[in-house]
């Protein structure tokens, strides 16, 4: 038997294994499924997709050409453009794209059961997200590493370009607000979590000073020092939690914590990067890679059973975590991990300046997203290994299940997910928390899931430590995204204002820095504030809004890809990006339609605003709720208009792209391709490629 047929048989086995794992998961009813089958199914699907679909796109559709010099080679300047080993680029690219999104989305979507989310993560990534990242990376490389916004402007016209800009800015605002809300909910009345998260700030500053002044540029030394201090901070938080005089200092309601996060965000945006942002990023990157590795190990070693049913009754839209049916809301809830428009910003501009060969695009563009998707699968597992009753008790807001523990367990048990007050109290004690009821946002339930996995794999007696380690891990990189996002928003705003006043456009002019940072922080701070005072938990409103905006950015990216494919004479292959685009257009529009028109007060924005206004007018609200009601009513209306705006923007871009494509096919004048000319690579002969 020759090696070729051996290889065919090998891949056939992978296909059979994957199909049976997937079939086993999908068709299994009643009996508990082991998490290892989810991992197996994901690994097989991803391996097949990478081996066949990605290879086919690389060879036939994009026609990657390794003899062509990449921008990194042509402009090699030693800092921006550097031809880099592909494993190194892969590491950088993955660290850049994988944030807290793929951990939170699947946790929330687990309210539908593990199946819808898992299938969407697998299918969405393979056919949508990976293709988006890979094609955008390729087109950016062929255009000297241009950003998504520039490519949209050059290839589609000014409408697409401006839409990309506005879309990015708005996503940033909503993303930061919702991430801030997740952190606030994790810290609420948890002195341990609050003190640990607070101590990450001085630790980052210390590391920043170390890397800059004490031992300049010694990144690894500084990071190891910082990581050791972070672990100490987790342990120290436990000590503070047990210390009656220090405890009250860190025991706060949501609102003061939200103000603290807002003040922190503003400070981080105007402080120099080396002091806070850059060192925090080093710590969060190491933390992220380490924890993901640990989580994989724990799942593989423990092979936990999935307790969540494949489907829950909440697919009908009555779910406690967020309202809305499984279609279209599972596709909006899980953006990162399946298709994330934000990636297109990294895949264009940043990463393309490092690639030494076009051949690496498949591994870094497609493969990088596959790995993120794998992280999303693990988050889904961590949510599904919890007892469903416990999962819903942690994630259901008090406005839905009631403020009192007895009411909440009665309500949740009535759904068919039995849970008791004693069980929750015992769990909270084990995790070192006062209560775990209504800890919405996904972070606490993910931390409980991770802690129980880590605990059973590496030592049960340290559950409280593991829980707060997981919270700290999530908070560290949520805060990194918050800092970095505020900064990017500031730069974009300064760039925009620079059109009117050159002075305001100077990124180093301090009054402008303060003004623009203030505007960005106020924008996300507003949504964070409303999210905290909203008795239904804020996540119910903000997360779908984030999903819709992120999918809209993905639609911009896929429109750019489709437009360029058609203009390159590859109409017959344009479906690789047009099909996911069509799907995203359908789900985003459907979700927006429901969010705007639904008469259900938990789903429809206008319905909620009307309902609250009626109750306020009738005097049915208790005084504390009546006081904030006008703000909540205004916010619901604002969210509705914002959703409408996103959808209109989405369709404008799609029609703009179609106009360009049809124009091209009819031979009319359209913006020409801006591909840079072929220049032979000299790296191919010089390098022995690994």
């Amino acid at each position: 038997m020759n090696s070729n047929s051996m290889r065919i048989i090998g891949w056939l086995l992978v296909a059979i294994l994957g199909a049976s794992a997937l079939g086993g998961i999908a068709l299994n009813r009643g009996e508990p499924v082991n998490a290892i089958w989810l991992i197996t199914a994901a690994a097989c699907v991803f391996a097949l997709a990478y081996r066949f679909y990605a290879a086919w796109i690389a060879a036939r559709v994009l026609v990657l050409d390794e003899t062509r010099a990449t921008p990194a080679e042509r402009f090699d300047d030693g800092h921006d453009f550097i031809p880099t080993n592909r494993w190194i680029v892969f590491g950088h690219h993955f660290a850049a794209i994988a944030g807290p999104g793929p951990l939170i989305g699947p946790t929330l979507a687990a309210q539908f059961g593990y199946l819808p989310g898992t299938l969407w993560i697998l299918i969405g990534a393979v056919l949508g997200g990976c293709v988006q990242d890979m094609t955008i990376m390729f087109f950016s490389i062929r255009r000297n590493g241009k950003s998504l916004g520039q490519m949209a402007r050059d290839e589609l016209g000014p409408i697409g370009g401006n839409a990309a800009l506005v879309g990015t800015l708005m996503i940033m605002v909503i993303l930061i607000a919702v991430l801030g809300l997740v952190v606030v909910n994790a810290m609420k009345h948890s002195p341990w979590a609050t003190s640990t998260i607070a101590s990450t700030i001085p630790i980052a500053v210390l590391v920043g000073l170390y890397m800059r002044d004490i031992r300049p540029g010694r990144v690894l030394e500084g990071s190891v020092l910082g990581l050791a201090l972070l672990l100490l901070a987790v342990a120290g938080g436990g000590w503070i939690d047990h210390n009656p005089s220090l405890r009250p200092l860190f025991d706060h309601e949501g609102l003061p914590l939200a103000w603290a996060v807002i003040a922190y965000g503003f400070a981080a945006a105007i402080l120099p990067v080396w002091l806070l942002l850059a060192p925090r990023d080093y710590l969060s990157t190491f933390m992220k890679l380490g924890t993901i590795l640990l989580l994989t190990l724990a799942i593989v070693v423990m092979r936990p059973e999935i307790r969540m049913p494949a489907l829950t009754q909440f697919i009908d839209g009555s779910g406690p975590i967020f309202g809305g049916r499984v279609f279209p809301f599972v596709f909006i809830t899980i953006a990162c991990g399946a298709v994330s428009g934000f990636h297109a910003l990294i895949a264009s501009g940043t990463t393309p300046k490092l690639l030494a060969s076009e051949k690496d695009i498949r591994m870094i563009g497609y493969g990088g997203m596959l790995l993120e998707s794998f992280v999303a699968i693990m988050a889904m597992i961590a949510a599904s290994v919890l007892d469903p009753g416990v999962f819903f008790a942690i994630n259901s807001p008090a406005g839905i299940v009631g403020k009192e523990a007895a009411d909440a367990v009665a309500r949740i048990s009535s759904w068919g997910y039995p849970v008791t007050v004693e069980q929750m109290e015992m769990l909270a004690r084990e995790m070192g928390e006062k209560t775990l009821f209504a800890r919405t946002g996904g972070a606490p339930s993910l931390a409980v899931g991770m802690a129980s996995l880590f605990g059973s794999a590496f030592g049960q007696n340290l559950l409280a430590m593991w829980y707060h380690f997981a919270i700290m891990f999530e908070a560290v990189f949520i805060l990194t995204t918050l800092d970095a996002g505020t900064r990017v928003g500031r730069f974009m705003l300064q760039d925009f204002l620079g059109n009117f006043s050159p002075r305001l456009g100077q990124t180093s002019w301090y009054p402008s820095v303060i003004l623009t940072s203030g505007i960005i922080v106020a924008a996300w701070g507003y949504f964070l504030y409303i999210g905290v005072i909203d008795p239904n938990g804020g996540v119910n409103i903000l997360w779908p809004l984030f999903g819709i905006s992120n999918q809209m950015l993905a639609a911009i990216a896929l429109s750019v890809s489709t437009g360029i494919l058609v203009k390159s004479g590859k109409l017959k292959y344009a479906w690789i990006s047009a099909a996911p685009l069509a799907w995203l257009a359908i789900v985003t529009s459907a979700a927006a339609w429901v969010k705007i028109t639904s008469p259900d007060v938990r789903i429809g924005f206008f319905a909620a605003a009307r309902d609250l206004a009626d109750k306020l007018a009738a005097g049915d609200l208790p005084p504390d709720k009546a006081a904030v009601a006008p703000q909540l009513i205004f916010n619901q209306q604002l969210d509705a208009w914002l959703t409408l705006f996103f959808v209109i923007l989405l369709w404008i871009i799609i029609f703009d792209m179609l106009r360009v494509c049809v124009g091209h096919l009819q031979g009319k004048a359209v913006p020409p391709l801006t591909e840079s000319p072929h220049e032979p690579s000299r790296l191919v002969e010089k390098w022995v490629r690994d």
Binding site: I97, L175, R212, P216, L220, V273, D281, H343
Partner: protein
Amino acid sequence: MLRKIWRTIRRLSGDDAYERYRAHYRTVHPDEPELSRKAFFKREQERKWNGVRRCC
């Protein structure tokens, strides 16, 4: 083997950035003065965070 892993870690984290910069500078611009380790690190951090570097 261990040395190779160590080199990869340094490369991935950017720990060896200054050494690479010097090597690059010496071959490409041999007669211009090069930055000190501290000045280089400062410039790199400013440059690195001037754009979208992190995602959701």
